[in-house]
Symmetry: C2
Subunit: 245 residues, 2 copies
């Protein structure tokens, strides 16, 4: 059986496995399959979509490569979860002199509601003046102040985030568990800047000290921006590590 049945009869522009992948992605975005859930087996999915098991496998393999699914032999296929380890490994690139990652401690400075300025609106894909929540925090590496961070998110997506007393170390975990927003990928723009107040005071350095500025836009599963974050980092002892394949 080479003709798609359940998927549609129109002459296809995309290969079957890509259509299966897109359908599964839709379910993930819609929240029909949630982080931690186990998916049906390959054969069940194959039946459901009216394709062979090999075709489902190719779709599953790609979603696994995209870090959306996790497959475990003998157990099943699961929707990826943002545990601390994954967040650290995927989204935190500062390493010590030995090249090893360290989980930074976080110290909350403030959480405030506000209205989006032009830059925030551009970065978050919302209209200027829309309600946002801004978070300031200081992160320490090896016990010393290392990162001054400013985070902005649309209030619409995270309604009561501003009321939370204690913000966990890995925010993405909170986004996922409490608001059903999964961070799928991010784009960072790095630059070297001179420290200004109030970052300098927070980091206990003199203004003018060079800092590594990481400007990150984080995107949800559907590709829409959901968080804008600027981290200014001391790189005297730590470095930002990139691997080019």
């Amino acid at each position: 059986m080479n003709k798609p049945t359940d998927i549609g009869e129109a002459p296809r522009a995309q290969p079957l496995y890509a259509q299966v992948k897109a359908l599964m992605m839709q379910r993930l975005i819609a929240g029909q399959w949630r982080p931690g859930d186990m998916l049906p087996s390959e054969f069940q999915l194959a039946d459901e979509f009216g394709v062979s098991q090999g075709t489902v496998r190719k779709a599953l393999d790609e979603l696994t490569a995209d870090n959306v699914l996790v497959r475990r032999q003998g157990r099943g296929t699961f929707v990826a979860e943002h545990d601390d380890h994954r967040a650290l490994f995927h989204f935190f690139h500062l390493v010590g002199p030995d090249g090893q990652r360290r989980l930074p401690e976080s110290q909350l400075i403030s959480v405030r509601k506000g209205l989006a300025g032009q830059i925030e609106a551009d970065r978050l894909g919302i209209v200027r003046g829309a309600p946002v929540i801004r978070i300031r925090r200081l992160r320490c590496l090896d016990g010393r102040p290392a990162i001054a961070e400013t985070i902005a998110v649309p209030q619409k997506l995270f309604p009561d985030l501003a009321d939370i007393r204690e913000v966990p170390n890995t925010l993405y975990d909170l986004y996922e568990r409490r608001y059903g927003v999964t961070i799928a990928r991010a784009v960072e723009r790095l630059a070297a800047v001179a420290a200004e107040e109030p970052d300098a005071e927070l980091l206990e350095i003199t203004p003018g000290t060079p800092l590594l500025e990481i400007d990150r836009t984080a995107l949800a599963l559907d590709g829409k921006p959901v968080e804008w974050r600027v981290s200014r980092c001391l790189t005297a002892t730590h470095h930002y590590r990139v691997e080019l394949g």
Copy 2:
């Protein structure tokens, strides 16, 4: 036929396709297949290794994902070449305000022979005091000085590089064509530093200006380091872009 014949009879610790991949990688490292060469067809390779075409395909797919091979439907499978475009796309991450990459112009400052210091020796995996070649150059973006670059390579791998009058814009292309050394991947460590002489003069800025320092170790196909490069970049108008999957 499920038992490997040409590949070996010992109880295998690795799947067949991984063994096939490793064998093909060996040939690539040995230079038996050189950049630009066309590989035998999937069926020919399958015959040669004594496996099925599907198994060869899986190995080829992975090598393609690793950017070692390029597959073109209807034409064949080829060993990847480091043309300007690929070098720019893979190894150059500075983008303009619009997010678009620009190919920088290069201005050669000096090419000198020398003996490896401790840091060079560590980075290049050679003994201290081994002959190295050092290159200094200035790179411009949009006509303005933007990057002060220092490059060190082992003289052993690039014998007459020091005699070359004109160094092309994309060095990796030269490494590949002239010396048969293919840069497969690289590791970069980024930090913010204050400009010092002689970089400040080269970049026409005042000492102390924050610069983005990119410390890159480039690795050949066999995984051994072959180039150490430090680029200090003005990031007033340009940014270093990273995509996190």
